[in-house]
Symmetry: C2
Subunit: 263 residues, 2 copies
């Protein structure tokens, strides 16, 4: 075995050696990685069986479990944090059991050989920051119009309307035209006046009722009052939320697993 207290690694261990490292990883709430030939049984609200094959088992310090095959970004089996684990050494195999109480679920990973086992004490408090540009925010609204409001249907975006380009353009659930101006930071008076200019330009051509919506994470001082005076509306739109929509849509196009809508 090689490594320090932070890192324990063993290549091609016997099942007994692997069991010993796994047991200590569970006791020490360490991150555990086991590569080996295994089957996986899951029983919970549904149930599943994964036939024999070579995979990675990852168990985290918080009790989350992942089984990864050698291809694809999705785990084939997984459990959220809060599982309790134990390891059992049988004559010619090693069983790792994970159990969750609420709801009652269990996963059993049975190895007949282990290629690598590693136990790590990882510290991670780094922040994850997700960003979106204004254009990202336009695209996110097109992908998920309910970000703006229920029933909104976009018609086009970055549409040329003198004196410039309208960010997003669509109709609301009552069939009214909606012109949306998007800002990725706190929107000031200039954004409100810019939107008013577009509205005026479109009103001069189209003889229809028209709504102007300023979509931004927040409004600057006195901008709400200005919007009211101009007959315009404000909609809080979080760039981080937009970034998530884009990132997910990206992956949804490629993989079907996570794209189905949940109730």
């Amino acid at each position: 075995m090689s490594g320090t207290n932070k890192t324990t690694v063993l290549a091609n261990p016997t099942l007994a050696e692997a069991a010993s490292i796994i047991e200590r990883a569970f006791a020490g709430r360490r991150t555990l990685i086991v590569a080996g030939n295994c089957t996986v049984q899951y029983v919970g609200r549904a149930s599943s069986t994964l036939e024999l094959g070579e995979r990675l088992l990852i168990i985290k310090e918080d009790g989350a479990l992942l089984v990864h095959r050698p291809a694809g970004y999705e785990p084939v089996n997984w459990q959220p944090s809060g599982c309790f684990f134990h390891v059992q050494l049988k004559q010619d195999r090693l069983e790792v059991h994970g159990v969750r109480q609420k709801p009652r679920e269990s996963v059993k990973v049975t190895f007949d050989s282990v290629f690598m086992v590693s136990s790590l004490d990882l510290e991670d408090s780094g922040e994850f920051l997700l960003f979106a540009s204004e254009e990202d925010m336009h695209k996110a609204i097109l992908l998920k119009p309910s970000l703006l409001e229920e029933g909104f249907k976009p018609i086009s975006y970055e549409k040329k309307v003198e004196p410039g380009f309208v960010d997003v353009y669509g109709v609301d659930k009552d069939g009214k035209l909606v012109v949306v101006e998007v800002k990725r930071k706190t929107a000031g008076k200039e954004a409100a006046l810019q939107l008013a200019r577009y509205i005026d330009a479109i009103k001069a051509k189209a003889n229809r009722e028209l709504r102007g919506v300023l979509a931004a994470p927040s409004l600057g001082k006195d901008v709400q009052r200005l919007l009211e005076t101009l007959g315009l509306e404000f909609k809080a739109l979080d760039p981080k939320k937009c970034a998530e929509v884009l990132k997910k849509a990206e992956n949804a196009k490629l993989e079907t697993f996570f794209t189905e809508e949940l109730p």
Copy 2:
């Protein structure tokens, strides 16, 4: 370094040693695991930054990438299969770049220290089988009524109606009562006749229009004709699909990340 051609493992490598193993893993399309202190930058339709912390980087033979923090079942960064990778050794850090062309996306993982690096040649052709019981299928319909049809609203399930229990009971989008009989295998004539008995029993009490739906993966010989004669309907319902709904709903309750609906 320890291991065979199947398994290469090194604990606490220098950055140069790690770079060498990583490079050979990419060239050989092997599964790579790197544990270390790193930052992650993602640029694509959105962009993100992950500050310094200790994590696992997993890159699979098909070019899928995962970055896992020590807690939670979700990756903090991920890329679907099809990325191209290269590794770059700088003076005091190691950079792993992953790039995808369509759409243009890139991930950069920058390590200042590596605790463990492992490269594996994994073979996995085992089949993954997901099962649902009839009761699971009832629950799946309650969780996601659109499995049955758009606009369906369940009222109750396993409701006692002489001569037994109705599986799922609800109203359709037009307000009509719907009685659903669920079978997890090909439904035979007995299932159709059983549903007809429930319908008759309920009709005798409730003075309302009533639909009877037999939900099953498929229908046996001549059962479609029997259903028509009895004034009943068939809806194809896949037990595997039901199992996925349950499994996802389970995790959705605990974690918010994958639960948001996509457009």
